[in-house]
């Protein structure tokens, strides 16, 4: 793929050079050069055909995948998400209670939608349980501690520290209310700004 592979016309100019000037009137050289004139005509036709193809493909109802495809893709995704991480949040006399990381995530995201100027991004949750002694079987002794690492995008121009505080506060109340455990540590990172 050396540079000399770039196609050149009989007059020595490259196709690229002609292409670059296709929207402008012909140059002095092009007006007199047979090679350039032929190339210009062809490239102009190519350009028109390209635009036409782009537009017709975009709007051609035939050029869409079958209607059931979205569903098929989502079925696979849905089946796989259920095997995601589960966090053990309580051991009772009757058994264990686990919560999927996904459920915690969505609770946090729903909380975040109440804060204007914040878009949720990634959320990682660790759960730290104090090592329990072999005698303990009930819930009271081993309160799990969440460590939430939440990344967000903020609207350009907002007061970031104030908004992040409001967000943290919102999560701190949403988790005990929605799940029944302490929110633990909430680390919030503003990783991006978005235009309003």
């Amino acid at each position: 793929m050396a540079l000399e592979d770039v196609p050149r016309l009989g007059c020595g100019r490259s196709i690229d050079e002609v292409w670059a000037g296709i929207d402008q009137p012909p140059t002095g050289h092009e007006e007199h050069c047979q090679y350039c004139q032929t190339a210009r005509t062809r490239l102009q036709r190519l350009q028109e055909a390209t635009v036409a193809l782009r537009e017709s493909d975009l709007h051609d109802p035939e050029l869409k995948p079958r209607p059931g495809l979205t569903r098929a893709i989502m079925d696979v995704a849905r089946a796989e998400v259920r095997r995601g991480n589960r966090l053990l949040v309580r051991t009772t006399d009757h058994g264990t209670i686990e919560i999927s990381e996904q459920a915690l995530d969505s609770l946090i995201r729903i909380a975040a939608t109440a804060i204007p100027g914040i878009h949720s991004r990634r959320c990682r949750i660790d759960i730290r349980t104090l090592p329990n002694s072999p005698h303990e079987t009930t819930s009271t002794a081993r309160a799990p501690r969440l460590v939430i690492n939440f990344r967000v995008a903020a609207a350009a121009g907002i007061d970031i520290p104030k908004t992040v505080d409001a967000l943290r506060q919102k999560i701190r109340t949403a988790i005990p209310a929605g799940i029944g455990i302490d929110a633990g540590t909430i680390n919030i990172t503003v990783e991006d700004l978005y235009d309003v």
């Binding site: 793929m1 540079l3 592979d5 770039v6 196609p7 490259s14 196709i15 690229d16 292409w19 190339a39 062809r42 490239l43 036709r45 190519l46 028109e48 055909a49 390209t50 036409a52 193809l53 782009r54 017709s56 493909d57 051609d60 035939e62 050029l63 869409k64 995948p65 079958r66 495809l69 979205t70 098929a72 893709i73 989502m74 696979v76 995704a77 849905r78 796989e80 998400v81 995601g84 996904q102 995530d105 969505s106 995201r109 729903i110 975040a112 939608t113 109440a114 204007p116 100027g117 878009h119 949720s120 991004r121 990634r122 959320c123 990344r151 995008a153 991006d192 978005y194 235009d195 309003v196």
Partner: protein, 199 residues
């Protein structure tokens, strides 16, 4: 100012946030991305492969494998580029497998005649004279496109039909941006020549 709905609905303008949610397993966010990209990927795959079913397979494989490896995507703003790369490479793999299995002719002049299926129809309501010229041009372009070597065709489609950047195309095809420019120039030259012959 901010009009947030009741649920965590994705916001159109901030694809990065939608991608990030999908990375965490948010199905609604992922579905939003599937709907946003499936038609584009299909159009690319169809023009690469000239086969509806193969193109649909590429769309399905690209999007389901994107779901699986989504957590590994470092830059949420690069999702589109990444999907195009997955899809393009799936098309190129498929064409490679086809060429080793089938006795398809690789002579451009012979191939020129076999692209008769799958050409787009002129938009309804087009003047008949315009329509004739329009479809002749379309057929010429679509047919010549099929005669390009796969990487060159991918390069041309990504740039001219899908408006992807030189840098992105060079990442996708694992060639330098300079080589992309050269490849694109050869593709244009080849297509312009071919269309001339078609007339």
């Amino acid at each position: 100012m901010d009009d947030h709905g009741p649920g965590p609905e994705p916001d159109e303008g901030d694809e990065g946030s939608i991608v990030a949610r999908a990375q965490d397993g948010d199905l609604a966010a992922f579905e939003h991305l599937v709907i946003a990209y499936q038609d584009r990927i299909f159009r690319l795959a169809y023009r690469m492969l000239n086969d509806r079913l193969d193109a649909e397979d590429v769309v399905q494989e690209t999007l389901t494998s994107s779901w699986r490896s989504l957590p590994l995507l470092a830059d949420v703003n690069a999702f589109g580029a990444w999907l195009y790369r997955l899809a393009t490479n799936k098309c190129l793999d498929l064409l490679r497998r086809r060429s080793t299995h089938a006795e398809t002719s690789t002579d451009p002049d012979e191939l020129l005649g076999i692209g008769e299926h799958g050409f787009p129809q002129a938009p309804a309501g087009t003047d008949p004279a315009d329509q004739a010229q329009w479809s002749a041009q379309q057929e010429g372009l679509a047919a010549v496109l099929n005669t390009l070597p796969p990487a060159q065709r991918a390069c041309w489609l990504l740039r001219e039909i899908h408006g992807r950047s030189y840098t992105e195309i060079s990442d996708t095809l694992k060639i330098s941006p300079t080589t992309v420019r050269g490849m694109l120039a050869r593709a244009r030259h080849h297509i312009a020549e071919g269309m001339g012959q078609w007339r």
